[in-house]
Amino acid sequence: MAEKPKRITDIGPPHYQKFLPPIIKENYGKWKYHERLGPGVMVHVSEAGAKCYTVRCGSPRLLSTKTIRFLAELADKYCGGYLRFTSRNNVEFLMDSPDNIEALKKDLADAGFPVGGTNNAISNIVHTQGWVHCHSSATDASGIVKCVMDALYERFTHEDLPAKLRIALACCLNMCGAVHCSDIAILGVHRRPPRILHESLRKVCEIPTLIASCPTGAIRPKTIDGQQTVEVVEEQCMYCGNCYTVCPAMPLNDPENDGLSIWVGGKVSNARSEPKFSKLAIPYLPNNPPRWPEVVQAVTKIVEVYAANARKYERMGEWIERIGWPRFFELTGIEFTRYHIDDFKHAGLTYHRSAHIRM
């Protein structure tokens, strides 16, 4: 290469206006309403009567540059050279006329990209790195997402649920993504205290910081062979992994005991009810690659029971609050265990302090 380019920094992202297709630019801030035209397809109509047609397709999020180029080609072919991604990693093709919708859908179908995810469909699963990239993970991410979406495929390409249903997956308690407020959350869990690699601990970790990192105070200083290190009071460990984040010599990964938990009833939107956290449905399911049948079955079951029982416009959490948690466990056949009863800081506030009981 000829000349080394001058090093520039702090330029920030490109200005978004450069990337807006004309139909968007012209009607920016002037949209009047929208209509659903079927799964994955909608039209937004501006005050001036202009129309923006959107076709949304699912994506595995982990994309090769090859696939990105392919999507770009479609956008050149049908959308004047622009496209966008959604906040849940779907791809949206925007057009100023309906003419190309069917052709685009066909090309997408041929390439294996499902159109859907709008309205009362299950949209894409927000997820994280898993074994593909993260050192913290108690499970894989992309693999489980693939299996669950295979099973729920028809729920993505149809809009026939009572309301939106958002699934998210995080591969450890750090919960990258909004797992904690999802209709269904799949969460990787460790179930054993960290192992302590005493040799490397001495070299790479600051012991006071490490001790301070544990929210339950389970880590204590210890001397082994005259060398300073730490020990973990096992009964006090809740496997949060914060020690591992600050000290690589405290890994929690454990092929036998790592696995998944399922959480339900969270939401983010303010529509009708206030945003809510997801609550524990199943404390533990085993890691069973490559197809994680236990997880797929559990999630599918919950979705089906919800679909069959909830009222129109009732999100998962709103439905459960109406019928009550006892009924949720009854309908889904999920076992209620000691693990469901909160024992963290505000646990007492979850005890049922009234005589309101369905018999």
Binding site: R7, P13, G29, K66, W131, H133, D140, S142, D258
Partner: protein, 401 residues
């Protein structure tokens, strides 16, 4: 160990089956870009066999002068999979709203094919373009090409994280302020804080145009900016009747689902007691042609959301109930600066702003940032009698009207 494009991955191959697009296929597609994808497949297959990740705790790598934007990653089986011995990711700050020209997309792909694995996440959970996997020595050249092309890195570490926004006014009729612009302005205003970690921990901004909150800001942002309105819902009675005529059960599906039950429908006319409306969006969502947010628009500022580590997950809570759109940028900046000052001084290591507020108490936090308490900030006043009365006020007679 030699790279073999036809690495044997019987377990992963199972994930090429089924109708949903396969990330395994994506990794295989990237094999043509270079040997990294192949070793990634190999290592991932190994993880599938023994049910454990094979990445080591990340070391500190990055580009010159930046404290973030790169996540260092090393294999714990580098002998077996030398091409992923280093496998760092770059976080590239996406454009507001995730709009792209195909030209820009191709430029990004070109750069990444030259300097990395050819694998990406479009996008990361925070919203960045994730360039997934490269070696330390490629970071600087890759960064140089990115900036030449007009892209910069996003955040990682104890800094402002890449702000994100819902599609907003670009394609949504409900945007109560310009989310894309606000996201861009804030990102630009805090380039230094984004690239050079100055804080006790991370700080995230997310911008949603209305209470539907399509970027999940209330669940994931230290400062959540959620569009709303102050006056009355705009209402087109004819369009309401039209919905009814087309079969919408307005009583059951709208009126009875309103959280405050502030609406009534007599079969002809929908009446909204706007004073009681909490701006939940439900009725507007159901009848977009007939109802829309009022004309006096702006946003609610909420503070403190975060994931569970370590004191438990938090949703953001109301800080300023309503800021008119034209004062929004200035208010956010002013407020943020005051919040950061306080956090810098009193925040503990790895303590998010939300946790700090919980620890010192909302009232003390308000004092510190100079905001008056209002009842909108809480769901209900205290129910315990443990009030820390202040000395000064012993003297004056507190009064109520």
């Amino acid at each position: 160990m030699a790279v073999d494009e036809k690495v044997n991955t019987p377990l992963l191959d199972e994930l090429e089956k089924g109708p949903w697009p396969s990330f395994v296929k994506e990794i295989k597609k990237a094999q043509s870009v270079g040997p990294m994808a192949t070793d990634l497949l190999g290592q991932l297959e190994l993880s599938y066999e023994d049910k454990i990740g094979h990445w080591k705790h990340g070391g500190i790598v990055g580009v010159l002068g930046y404290g973030g934007g790169v996540i260092g990653r090393y294999s714990d089986v580098p002998d077996k999979f030398p091409h992923v011995a280093h496998f760092h990711t770059l976080r590239v700050n996406m454009p507001s709203g995730w709009f792209y020209s195909t030209e820009a997309l191709r430029t990004l792909c070109d750069i990444w094919d030259r300097h990395g694995s050819g694998l990406t996440n479009m996008h990361g959970s925070t919203g960045d373009i994730i360039f997934l996997g490269t070696r330390t020595e490629e970071l600087e050249p890759c960064f140089a090409e990115l900036t030449q092309a007009g892209f910069d890195l996003g955040g990682s570490g104890s800094c402002v994280r890449t702000p994100s926004a819902c599609v907003g006014p670009a394609r949504c009729e409900w945007a109560c302020y310009d989310t894309l612009k606000m996201c861009y302005e804030i990102t630009m205003a805090y380039q230094d804080e984004l690239h050079r970690p100055p804080f006790p921990y991370k700080f995230k901004f997310k911008f949603s145009g209305c209470p539907n909150d399509c970027v999940a800001s209330i669940a994931r942002a230290d400062l959540s900016v959620i569009g709303t309105w102050k006056d009355e819902i705009q209402q087109d009675d004819e369009a309401v009747r039209q919905y009814a005529a087309e079969g919408l059960d307005i009583q059951r599906d709208v009126v009875e689902r309103c959280p405050t039950r502030c609406m009534s429908w007599d079969g002809e006319k929908l009446t909204i007691e706007n004073r009681e409306c909490v701006r939940c969006m439900h009725c507007i969502n159901v009848m977009p042609k007939a109802l829309s947010p009022g004309k006096e628009r702006g946003a609610t500022l909420l503070i403190g959301a975060k994931a569970p580590i370590v004191q438990g997950a938090l949703l953001s809570s109301v800080l300023i109930p309503f800021v008119p759109e034209d004062e929004l940028l200035e208010t956010i900046k002013e407020l943020t600066d005051r919040v950061w000052d306080f956090w810098d001084e009193y925040g503990m290591n790895r303590e998010r702003v939300g946790e700090l507020i919980q620890r010192v108490g909302m009232a003390n936090f308000l004092d510190a940032i100079g905001l008056d308490p209002t009842p909108e900030m809480i769901t209900a006043p205290r129910d315990n009698p443990y009030i820390f009365f202040r000395e000064e006020e012993g003297e004056e007679e507190e009064s109520e009207a």
